[in-house]
Amino acid sequence: MSAAPIPLNSGGKELLNPPSDGISNLRFSNHSDYLLVSSWDKTVRLYDANANLLKGEFLHGGPVLDCCFHDDSSGFSAGADHTVRRYVFSSGKEDILGRHDAPVRCIEYSYAAGQVITGSWDKTLKCWDPRGASGPENTLVGTYQQPERVYSLSLVGNKLVVATAGRHINVYDLRNMSQPEQRRESSLKYQTRCVRCYPNGTGFALSSVEGRVAMEFFDMSEAAQTKKYAFKCHRKSDNGRDIVYPVNAMAFHPIYGTFATGGCDGYVNVWDGINKKRLYQYSKYPTSIAALSFSRDGRLLAVASSYTFEEGDIPHEPDAIFIRSVNEVEVKPKPKTLAAPS
């Protein structure tokens, strides 16, 4: 560690026993303050965020690229070894739900459909029914071809948004996966980094590697499309030129609908999408922000500070997870008449 130590409190409480290699994603449970963390050290870890305790650790076949909860008792993970695994936390049992032909990049669980959805670099999306016995013959519900490798997924209600390489965006209705409901192109001109749907189900936010976030809407009518916009963020100005950082992660506050973005500049910003204002910027984290997650009540924000290899294989700060308590002032939207704190 070459940098000056960051005061423990400013970034939030640092979790003990973090993964030993990069953190690919972290998620709070919908039912409690348990945090599931997937990492490049091939493990999937379960933490009790409040108690700051490691509750469980599961070994994958290779680097784990994504994870999600099923409910508080089980979760799923997507690995670079092409497998989709399921874990039962209480018993520590795990099994393979299915496989892809290439590393599985994203995984989501849809409560509405009762299915696990995975996106992979083999350019397919697969839906799995976790209630079946293990083995792809029993659990695979469908395979849906995508135009390119899947980079990010997000669900809200019955809508599924898939972001792939080549800036393709497919919007599906989970009830009818045979065809995407909409085939779109990202309105950002650079590689899509992350896609997240608004909690109110009207649209989704896209972030790119070029320090920009686009706010899009599902409704393709003229009226709705006028509301869409994009804004620059996670940039640094230097001698009149902008240094632009990829925006790796986004997370929506479950109550206020505002959202936080995390970039390779190590900052987390909170934005009010409706009033188009930045609400807050947290102090800088040791390294790139790899993942963000709000707890179910929006009172905690988990921040994964983990180098995301945007500059290749270089020495970097150790990977850490910070849990911060969220103050209302940081996330509550402010109508346009009031100035936002800088």
């Binding site: 680097p63 092409h82 290439a102 490798r149 980094r193 230097d238 240094i243 294989d313």
Partner: protein, 664 residues
């Protein structure tokens, strides 16, 4: 009344008395004898009585005559009344009225007169009606009617009969008018037919009957004429149908010829009105002169002109067909058989063969080849598959020889995937070949000829392939032997000298030549390092963190361009060096990015960051298999400078590549 004859007798006595006295005097004078006097008085008496008797007879005659007249008159009146269907007037009334015959007569005569008049009138009416009936009947069916029948019975003059006759007349009139209408209709038909056929209406009509051309009233509408009219119309209709058929035949011929000889649109339009009607029904052809002799003739002329043209263009058409035949042959990998056709051309020139015959022959050949195509299709498809598999086999061989294929790099995972697939295919080749060979044998047996593929017998091709494979296998055996020997030698050396020759030296000596070296099969990890090319600004050597020594530079030229991304795909936006302004936004191209800012946060810097470095991405695709990802296969890359192949990778993909490389 009785007084009259008494008066008469008195007057007579008075008149005759004096006469008689005179007579007595005279007699006395004469001295007539009494006998003579009595005789003269007897004669006188006799004469008187006779004179009275004559008067009496006369009166009696008159009485009889009158009676007769009355009776006659009465009878006549009765007859008339009965004939006219009227009730008899009561004569007895008259009788009783006056009592004397003369009065009766005077009564009955006017009555008779009246009845006679009425009768005459009635007869007149009848006459009129029957005359009209006769006239119309005459018009309608003159031949068959018997004129004498159109009379009436004079004893039947009742109004009822008259009405009957009137009705008959009406019906006849109706019939007449209907017939007239029909005739008019027929005439119209005839007219339209004449128009279509280009005939003169007047002449046709006159043929039937001259009066038909005149005004309505004077037309002859007898059965005979109507029949003739109908038959004329039928005849003309037949002519129309005939000509229509002919025209449509000509139209189809025209269309065929146009199609065959690519006649230009302008010429086609001249005869558009023919071809337009090629499928018309009888009723649709009603334009002026469309079926006239002249029009048909012009169509015939055009068709024959085109036929002549066709004959002249015969050669071209035959050539075209020949070309078609060739193409078909080629598609099914049959060799073209030029000789026959050329010979045929000479024959035509010499006049021994006509072009149409030749065309037929070629058409036959074409259909034969088409049949052949069908039968060969299945086998040909399999042959294609086999050829593709052979190609993949060859590629795989080349690929296996390449040293650098295990190096993680751009497009590497795609090559890996291809190699996997290729291996699977190669395994299937023997079975495929066997199956194919069997099919070919069966086909050949059925048709009793050799299945050729572009002139070469398929069986021969299979043979060659098998032989080649055997030779390769033998070669491999030989090489294995050699390696074994070499290893033994090395071991000997070690025993003798105590050390192995350094691997890097021996590897480097073979580097770049792509020969098969046994060590390549092992994970290469840190054992090898290819010398970087320092002059290439884009391909800078990475300085990894201290624990990672493997490097990721690869230069062997790739054979397949699809697998690698040439330009640095890492997006780096720190444009501290001024020569890189923001590029115009091209959605799918990557921004080539310049170098790290040295003033980046200190955490990022490692030892020699003064060198500008542009990271190069090395995505690695892992083999399928549960644990196989742990032995990554490195693969070839194309020269990174190829500018038009841009594949983007995400940070995770490149990180995975590094990760896997680091595993070794």
């Amino acid at each position: 009344m009785n007084e009259l004859h008494k008066d008469y007798l008195l007057r007579l006595e008075r008149a005759c008395g004096p006469l008689l006295q005179q007579l007595q005097v005279i007699w006395d004078e004469i001295g007539e004898s009494l006998a003579d006097r009595e005789k003269i008085f007897k004669d006188l008496e006799h004469e008187c009585v006779e004179a009275h008797q004559i008067k009496l007879d006369k009166a009696s005659h008159l009485r009889a005559h009158l009676r007769q007249s009355i009776a006659d008159a009465e009878a006549e009146v009765a007859a008339i009344c009965s004939a006219m269907g009227e009730r008899l007037v009561n004569n007895t009334q008259i009788n009783q009225k006056d009592g004397s015959l003369k009065s009766e007569v005077s009564a009955i005569v006017p009555l008779l007169e009246e009845m006679r008049n009425r009768r005459a009138e009635r007869i007149g009416q009848f006459l009129e009606v029957t005359e009209q009936i006769r006239k119309i009947t005459n018009e309608i069916r003159p031949a068959g009617c018997n004129q004498s029948e159109i009379t009436f019975d004079e004893s039947e003059l009742t109004t009822r009969k008259l009405e009957e006759l009137h009705k008959e007349l009406q019906s006849l009139q109706k019939e007449k008018s209907e017939r007239l209408k029909m005739v008019m209709g027929q005439l119209k038909n005839l007219n339209s037919l004449c128009i279509v056929l280009g005939l003169e209406f007047e002449k046709m009509v006159a043929e039937v009957h001259p009066t038909l051309d005149e005004g309505e009233e004077s037309k002859n509408i007898s059965d005979d004429v109507v029949d003739r009219l109908a038959s004329t119309i039928q005849r003309l209709r037949e002519v129309k149908l005939q000509r229509m058929k002919k025209l449509q035949n000509l139209a189809t011929s025209l269309l065929e010829l146009w199609d065959l000889m690519d006649v230009p649109i302008e010429e086609q339009q001249l005869f558009q009105n023919i071809t337009r009607n090629v499928a018309a029904s009888e009723h649709e052809l009603n334009e002026i002169n469309i079926l006239s002799v002249g029009f048909l003739k012009s169509a015939e002329v055009e068709v024959s002109r085109l036929e002549n043209l066709k004959a002249r263009k015969g050669k071209d058409i035959v050539l075209k067909k020949k070309f078609e035949l060739e193409e078909l042959r080629q598609k099914t990998h049959l060799l073209p058989e030029d000789g026959e056709i050329n010979f045929a051309f000479e024959a035509v020139e010499a006049g021994a063969l006509s072009y149409s015959l030749l065309m037929e022959q070629i058409d036959n050949q074409i259909s034969l080849v088409k049949e052949d195509v069908l039968s060969r299709k299945d086998i040909l498809e399999k042959v294609e598959k086999w050829l593709n598999a052979c190609e993949e086999e060859n590629w795989l061989e080349e690929y296996s020889k390449d040293e650098n294929r295990y190096n993680a790099g751009r497009g590497a995972h795609l090559a890996l995937k291809r190699a996997e697939k290729a291996r699977a295919i190669v395994n299937k080749i023997p079975a495929m070949l066997q199956n194919l060979s069997d099919k070919v044998t069966m086909w050949e047996r059925e048709r009793r000829k050799v299945f050729t593929y572009d002139g070469v017998s398929l069986h021969l091709m299979f043979e060659k392939y098998n032989v080649h494979k055997m030779e390769k296998a033998q070669e491999l055996e030989r090489q294995k032997e050699q390696k074994k020997l070499h290893r033994l030698r090395v071991a000997e050396q070690e025993i003798r000298y105590g050390s192995k020759p350094s691997p890097s030296k021996c590897q480097n000596s073979r580097k770049g030549r792509g020969s098969i070296a046994p060590r390549k099969r092992l994970s290469l990890g840190g054992a090898q390092s290819a010398p970087p090319r320092p002059d290439d600004p884009q391909r800078k050597k990475l300085t990894p963190s201290a624990k990672k020594t493997s490097d990721r530079l690869f230069f062997s030229p790739g054979k397949r361009s699809a697998y690698c991304s040439p330009s640095p795909t890492k997006l780096r936006f720190n444009d501290s060096t001024p020569h890189q302004p923001e590029l115009p936004r091209q959605p799918f191209s990557q921004l080539p990015h310049p170098n790290n800012v040295i003033s980046a946060p200190p955490k990022m810097i490692s030892g020699d960051n003064s060198a500008s470095r542009t990271p190069i991405l090395m995505p690695v695709h892992m083999q399928v298999g549960p644990t196989s990802y742990l032995t990554p296969v490195k693969h070839q890359l194309e020269s990174i400078n190829a500018p038009d192949q841009v594949i983007e990778y995400s940070f995770e993909e490149s990180r995975l590549a590094c990760y896997l490389a680091a595993q070794n």
